[in-house]
């Protein structure tokens, strides 16, 4: 085991980034013109990075498996984006945003990175407004803000319930401008299947052209991954269907350490599963908890009756209902952070008090708010969400309480990166949800968009110079060399292996089973016993996959089943590592709750003495990994127990 060096600059926390920026290495314009950069992913992080690097003069090649850069899953983010603008004059500041993020992350993130994030947050809003993003405004014409869970100021900027869409379109348009200028070459419908290392440095990728099946070699001076999170390892999540871990996982297999993979955010307010055919879950914005009250029946008998359709929630009087969040957490009530709300829902359902046919749902009831404020006010606040709910469930939430249940939403873990956002492979960088850096063990609402754009627009364009300044004498990398040939052969081998199995079970069926194991043993609450069982089951499933999966068609054609098979193969490896990481972390923190480590009242017990570190895993081949640690040093905040009671 080695101790990792995060290369955090010296100096006071609030000066680090400014000082570092002023003294870091630069690449001269004439050199930028010949330096090539590969960017994989066109979401907020990848898209913003590719556009900005091209504006600076680098030659950029950008890859996406989508048909268009505009389809990246950042598009689906609803709520908003945080920034320490203090436009509301309510006491916000860079330090406060930094502190809230560290605390919200349950003291498992790196101070210096989080502070930098808070600093550049203000630049993001300026940039997006300049691009023409139509943020919500007040009658005076200035930008509006709203508040979000876990904080006491209003610092969230938003564009109705489609903030992610508007920010992504801003980045997409900036990228389109650079494509038109010839500074960026777009490779759409291309999926990265391997990272290529030459003399220890990341120098290219192997990508499959998804239309023709051609396996292509692409070279550059360095490779940037903005490839998103891995929530789809659970099969059912709020992620888009095609979101996957493959690019990050392949980099991991080539030497990039994977950090804190067990940190998963389970969002408390999603529409529950309705049947075995379910393909994905839909988020209902967290903002609903501002006016909705969460409850289940007090008695199991009433729950049973509701599940069988013999009773309706409207039949239950006030004293037959258990508003359990208000009961257990009187000071925060329905607005406790995401991890706390999710676990509480699980507990009441485990007790058999869940509602809906599956027994896995709780009520989110707006009747009090409607009586108090009127239906019009509620409709103005949440109209579009109520419509989505009705479209999916066929139920009218104005008349009948919504049914909700937690679902996997975001992964805080990801590729380990240093202060420069460089992974443990020199020349390979990771941005946004693909890295692990800023959210610790739990992410606050409206912070994912902030981090993606911070990394892409305002961090990597500077820090990439630290690597590239030493590469100005490196000629263009040729793809006609051993490392590329080897990687290509390895990729072809993996594809041929999958096509040759010709078994009897679909890729989808394996993915569903993996997802169920992950949910049961590495989901909202975990135990050593369960995790060990999970690891065993995943290994067996992986063996079965390589014996009995059926992938129709060939490589040399448009073949979505083959794409899925390659992704599920990687999920089958990642899932095991997530369980191992969860097993190693003998404490409860943020999204990671170990049943053995809780107080008598069932609250999470953190262990700062033994676990205030980042767990970074080195791949030693399929199913084998070695743990390395980065100690987390807190020089500016005092570690406290989170309490929302």
């Amino acid at each position: 085991m080695t101790k990792l060096d995060a290369k955090v600059p010296k100096g006071a926390l609030s000066d680090k980034w400014q000082q570092y920026k002023g003294t870091m290495k630069l690449v001269a314009p004439n050199n930028k013109r010949r330096i090539e950069v590969i960017v994989v992913g066109t979401g907020l992080a990848g898209g913003a990075c590719a556009a900005t690097l091209a504006e600076l003069g680098y030659k950029v090649k950008v890859f996406t498996f989508h048909d268009s850069p505009r389809r990246a899953h950042s598009i689906a983010a609803q709520g908003g984006i945080n920034a320490a603008k203090n436009y509301q004059n309510d006491g916000d500041s860079v330090y406060r945003l930094f502190y809230d993020t560290i605390k919200g992350g349950d003291y498992r993130s790196r101070e210096s990175n989080v502070h930098r994030l808070a600093e550049v947050s203000t630049n993001i809003i300026d940039q997006c407004v300049a691009q023409g993003v139509p943020f919500a405004r007040e009658y005076g014409g200035l930008l509006a803000n709203r508040s979000f869970g876990g904080v006491q100021v209003s610092r969230t900027f938003y564009a109705r319930g489609q903030t992610g869409q508007q920010l992504l379109l801003g980045a997409y348009q900036a990228l389109s401008r650079q494509i038109a200028n010839g500074n960026v070459t777009l490779y759409n419908r291309h999926e990265m299947l391997d990272l290529v290392k030459v003399d220890g440095k990341a120098r290219g990728i192997i990508a499959r052209n998804l239309l023709t099946g051609e396996i292509e070699r692409h070279a550059a001076h360095c490779v940037v991954l903005g490839t998103g999170g891995y929530g789809n390892v659970f099969y059912l999540s709020t992620n888009a269907m095609n979101s996957n871990t493959s690019a990050a996982w392949r980099a991991h297999r080539k030497g990039a350490f994977m950090a804190n993979p067990c940190y998963t955010q389970i969002h408390p307010t999603c529409i529950p599963v309705s049947g075995h055919y379910q393909s994905k879950l839909t988020l209902m914005s967290e903002s609903l908890r501002n006016d909705g009250r969460v409850w289940v029946p007090k008695s199991k008998a009433d729950s049973d009756a509701i599940r069988k359709g013999e009773k309706s929630p409207l039949d239950l009087s006030e004293d037959q209902r258990d508003y359990y969040l208000e009961r257990i957490y009187p000071s925060f009530g329905n607005l406790v952070p995401r991890d706390v709300a999710s676990r509480a829902a699980k507990y009441v359902c485990d007790e058999g008090r869940g509602v809906s046919k599956t027994g896995l749902a709780v009520y989110l009831d707006f009747s009090d708010a409607i009586n108090r404020l009127g239906e019009d006010t509620i409709s103005a606040r949440y109209g579009n969400l109520f419509e989505i709910y009705e479209k999916i469930t066929g139920e009218n939430p104005y008349k009948r309480p919504m049914r909700i249940y937690p679902a996997v939403h975001y992964t805080m873990g990801g590729l380990w990166v240093d202060y420069n956002l460089q992974t443990t492979v020199p020349g390979c960088f990771a941005l946004g949800e693909a890295n692990f850096s800023d959210h610790g063990a739990n992410r606050l609402g409206a912070s994912a968009l902030m981090q993606g754009l911070a990394d892409g627009y305002f961090v990597i364009p500077y820090t990439i110079g630290q690597f590239l300044a030493d590469e100005i004498r490196t000629p263009n990398i040729s793809t006609d060399q051993g490392a590329f040939a080897e990687a290509e052969t390895e990729v072809r081998g993996r594809i041929e292996k999958l096509l040759a199995i010709k078994g009897n079970q679909s890729v989808e069926s394996f993915h569903r089973r993996l997802g169920q194991y992950m949910w049961d043993y590495c989901g909202m609450s975990r135990s050593a016993e369960g995790l060990e069982k999970g690891i065993k089951l995943i290994r067996e499933l992986r063996d079965e996959f390589y014996k009995d999966v059926f992938v129709p068609g060939s490589n040399e054609e448009y073949n979505p089943e083959l794409e899925k098979a390659l992704r599920v193969a990687d999920f089958l490896e990642l899932g095991e590592l997530m369980c191992k990481d969860a097993l190693n972390r003998n404490e409860s923190c943020g999204g990671h709750f170990r049943e053995e480590y809780q107080t008598e009242e069932g609250e999470a017990t953190r262990n700062d003495e033994d676990f205030a570190y980042v767990a970074a895993w080195e791949s030693k081949g399929m199913g084998e990994s070695e743990l390395h640690k980065e100690d987390l040093v807190f020089e500016n905040v005092e570690l406290k127990t989170r309490s929302y009671k």
């Binding site: 850069p69 603008k85 059926f550 089943e561």
Partner: protein, 250 residues
């Protein structure tokens, strides 16, 4: 529910034809795409090639799903993408025709999947504000009327799915193009380049082989995001100004 599907198959062993499929035990709670998942699972069990269709977020925002259902892009429900359409909109025993979006500028790749790169090229022709990262002034430096910003949002909500093109008898991309022109021309930040933008985007739209607009307005009726044809009027105004106005750019 038991349904008969007549699905357009093209590529592989199919030259381009409707193929009949039967699906059984379809729950009314399923989404339309989940119903197709069930059919594809059935086909895989029979070692057949599953039907290719595009989809991603399944929340109605990414704009990836793109089929014509019983003659309507995204099916019968107003303001709804295919992924948000649920089977409770259909009846037991229904026969459902499923086809790709059809337009010269959207060539079919396979089955229900079409190539919409032409949309990206229209945006590349000018659908942006020319500002580099770091050049921006403070976000509150220019106040923008709430209604103005809200109007810009209404245009900017376009998901780029192409239903407008599929609905149009001329396969025109005027609604898509005008939504971006209108969004940016409405915001002060985008006004500076508005006329040049209108001209270059229209030029690219024509070059891609999209048809002309003849005011049928089927695009608005079928748009899953309710983008209004008043945006087309706005595009026309910007375009005419760019050709004939006192600040013409040609």
């Amino acid at each position: 529910m038991r349904l008969t599907l007549k699905v357009w198959r093209e590529g592989g062993k199919y030259v381009g034809q409707f193929v009949d499929y039967k699906v059984d035990n379809i729950s009314t709670d399923m989404s339309f795409l989940e119903m197709l998942d069930v059919l594809n699972e059935q086909l895989i069990q029979e070692k057949e090639t599953p039907i290719a269709f595009e989809h991603d977020c399944r929340e109605g925002i990414c704009g990836t799903c793109s089929m014509v259902i019983n003659g309507q892009p995204h099916g019968p429900m107003k303001s709804t993408t295919t992924c948000q359409l649920h089977m409770r909109s259909f009846n037991d025993g229904d026969v459902i025709y499923i086809e790709p979006f059809r337009a010269k500028a959207f060539p079919v790749i396979r089955d229900l999947v079409v190539n919409r790169d032409s949309f990206d090229r229209i945006i590349q022709a000018g659908g942006y504000v020319s500002v580099n990262t770091g050049q921006a002034q403070d976000a509150n430096a220019i106040p923008i009327e709430k209604d103005t910003s809200s109007q810009a949002f209404d245009a900017a909500t376009c998901i780029g799915c192409g239903a407008c093109v599929a609905a149009c008898p001329n396969a025109s991309a005027m609604l898509f193009t005008s939504a971006k022109v209108s969004h940016l021309a409405t915001m002060p930040q985008g006004k500076v380049e508005a006329r040049k933008r209108a001209q270059s985007m229209v030029k690219q739209m024509d070059a891609e082989g999209f048809g002309k607009c003849s005011n049928v307005t089927a695009c608005e009726a079928e748009c899953p995001k309710g983008i209004s044809v008043t945006n087309i009027a706005k595009l026309n105004r910007e375009y005419m100004g760019s050709v004939f106005g006192s600040d013409k750019v040609m």
